[in-house]
């Protein structure tokens, strides 16, 4: 503090100088998603400096990965982004299959798209509900969870678990769909369609919500790419990247034949395949509102994908195919594959030395890089904006700390 005093007196003698307070938000804070601690240096209500402290949920999954075979590590990928466990399983399975140059059956491919997109809807619902909680309204959280419960029921029928499924594994799926599941999934999608408009009315176009999120935490496309932000955070800033379309060949092969538009604002407007609410006047591209809106569009996009996957899955003649053996021998070498998860691009790096146990396993988490940009966004905002900004990044601590 001393060097501030001997500054040029003329400028600051009339200024009302309040001393800086170091305030601790978390790690048990109700608004931060999980155990994330934010140290705010505040000057009155203005936050001059924010530093996130992570590592409270670190379970060293990577060290354990060096003692388990590829299929035995699947449950650990569940616990990383526990809101979208299916996407995590898919990411790890595809990475291993890329190393083995193994091709799953046609039926398994469509089933994977179906299950993964359904899990994306569930994850975005939690994101939307928790964001409403950050801004002070409690009801959307309960509406979101009511719908999510229905998806979890569907998953429970498929693989017996509601949160950490370990359903998609290396070489295929652990089980096929139970009879009548497709009709129940169809029923869910039909009744879910109008409810999306409810969420738009309740949050997206709500005047107070727009006031709390528009022009807050504006992330420029260059900074987003520089910090390695991915997923809705990147698309919220207008960068047109979606790995399902421009990812690695093995990942895009899974989605070829599916018609979908990437939810991003291209030359001034979002895709018009459905009736979406208009963008409010004072929302700038890259602010919290746009990140939230991109997630809401992706829910509708995922619903289309699920419908297409259901048709293709039911038309497939061949057998589903068995997953690989538990202790499958892995060829020496290393491979890296990123898949499009709800929070962003989740990368798995696998280094093997020829035995069935990998030498080194590395999970590149999307929320890890998304959160890295938060000090940049929170500089100079108000205290009440910090949960709004961190909430809009939709971070999950399990994925960050691994």
């Amino acid at each position: 503090m001393s060097q501030i005093l001997d500054e040029d007196q003329r400028i600051i003698e009339f200024d009302v100088r309040t001393d800086e307070m170091l305030v601790n938000m978390g790690p048990q804070h109700p608004s931060t998603h999980g155990v994330l601690r934010l140290v705010l240096r505040t000057d009155g209500e203005i936050v001059s400096e924010m530093e996130p402290h992570i590592g409270y949920l670190h379970r060293c999954a990577e060290k354990i990965g060096e003692n388990l075979t590829a299929r035995q590590w699947i449950p650990y990928t569940d616990r990383m982004d526990y809101l979208a466990a299916m996407n995590m399983n898919l990411g790890w399975s595809l990475a291993v299959e890329k190393l083995l140059r193994y091709q799953v059956s046609e039926k398994a491919r469509h089933l994977r798209v179906l299950i993964v997109e359904l899990n994306r809807i569930a994850s975005h619902l939690v994101g939307m509900g928790a964001y409403g909680l950050d801004l002070g309204t409690f009801s959307p959280f309960l509406y979101a969870f009511r719908e999510r419960e229905k998806i979890l029921d569907l998953f429970e029928e498929v693989c017996g678990a509601r949160l950490t499924y370990s359903y998609i594994t290396v070489g295929g799926m652990t089980a096929d769909l139970p009879p009548g599941w497709l009709q129940r999934c169809e029923a869910f999608l039909d009744q879910f369609e109008p409810i999306i408009q409810e969420y738009h009315a309740l949050l997206t176009t709500n005047a107070i919500f727009v006031k709390r999120t528009a022009k807050i935490g504006v992330l420029s496309p260059e900074m987003a790419i520089d910090y390695g932000c991915t997923g809705p955070v990147l698309r919220g800033s207008g960068v047109d990247i979606d790995l399902r379309r421009d990812g690695e060949s093995i990942y895009t092969a899974m989605h070829d034949g599916y018609a979908f538009e990437v939810a991003v604002m291209k030359d001034g407007h979002y895709p018009r395949d459905h009736k979406y609410p208009a963008v409010p006047r004072d929302a700038i591209l890259g602010d919290c509102w746009h990140r939230f809106f991109v997630r809401m569009l992706e829910v509708v996009q995922s619903m289309d994908l699920v419908r297409q996957a259901m048709d293709r899955y039911s038309q497939c003649k061949g057998a589903l195919g068995e997953p690989l053996k538990l202790a499958e021998k892995l060829p020496a070498g290393d491979t890296y594959l990123e898949t499009e998860c709800p929070k962003g691009q989740m990368g798995f790096y696998l280094v093997t030395d020829g035995t069935s146990i990998p030498w080194r396993v590395r999970a590149r988490s999307s929320s890890f890089s998304n959160l890295a940009v938060s000090p940049e966004l929170c500089r100079g905002c108000l205290i009440a904006d910090v949960p709004a900004i961190v909430g809009s990044l939709d971070v999950v601590m399990g994925e960050i700390d691994r």
Binding site: H58, K63, M223, G333, Y349, V351, S369
Partner: protein
């Protein structure tokens, strides 16, 4: 996926950088000399015609076989390898760079190897390098705030090294 012209371009731009390569692996990679790393990365991001503007991930692999029996059969000798995964958002292309470092600086136990930080090139590298420093013990010179990110501040040892021993006690909590 990298044409030979790209490699010749790279060698022309930064001489002595390319030390090794393997183009027919599942993910072709190039090996870069440790001291030329920062220069290469700056060239890749700014002046190369495929702009690698995104740093996906930095990983450190500890090539060291702890028990002597297997160590005899292994063909590589112990070293630490830092792997950079880059990708270009415009050209949708990805690239893997590897850098070979000794396990300990000057081979005496306890002094961790040095490497120049690429935070000045990609801001995203900040937290990735802090994690590599925290878990695998690689000192990144030029990093603005190199502290442990996942383990507590005063944790000793680098967990992801093959010869890492779990401490018996930490602030009164029993380790084993």
């Amino acid at each position: 996926m990298r044409g030979t012209d790209f490699i010749s371009e790279l060698e022309a731009a930064v001489d002595g950088a390319l030390v090794g390569r393997d183009l027919d692996a599942v993910d072709p990679w190039l090996e870069i000399a440790a001291d030329k790393l920062l220069e290469t990365c700056r060239w890749l991001k700014d002046s190369c015609e495929i702009r690698f503007d995104g740093l996906q991930c930095i990983t450190a692999i500890d090539w060291f076989e702890p028990d002597p029996k297997k160590a005899a059969k292994v063909e590589w000798e112990p070293h630490t390898e830092v792997v950079y995964h880059l990708w270009s958002t415009k050209a949708r292309a990805s690239l893997v760079l590897k850098v070979r470092l000794p396990r300990w600086q000057g081979n005496e136990q306890g002094k961790i190897p040095e490497l120049s930080s690429v935070v000045s090139v990609w801001r995203g590298a900040d937290w990735h390098e802090r994690e590599v420093f925290d878990l695998s013990g690689v000192q990144f010179n030029g990093h603005p705030d190199l502290r442990r990110i996942l383990c507590p501040e005063d944790w000793d040892g680098y967990p992801l090294r093959k010869d890492y021993e779990m401490p018996l006690e930490y602030h009164g909590m029993r380790g084993r």
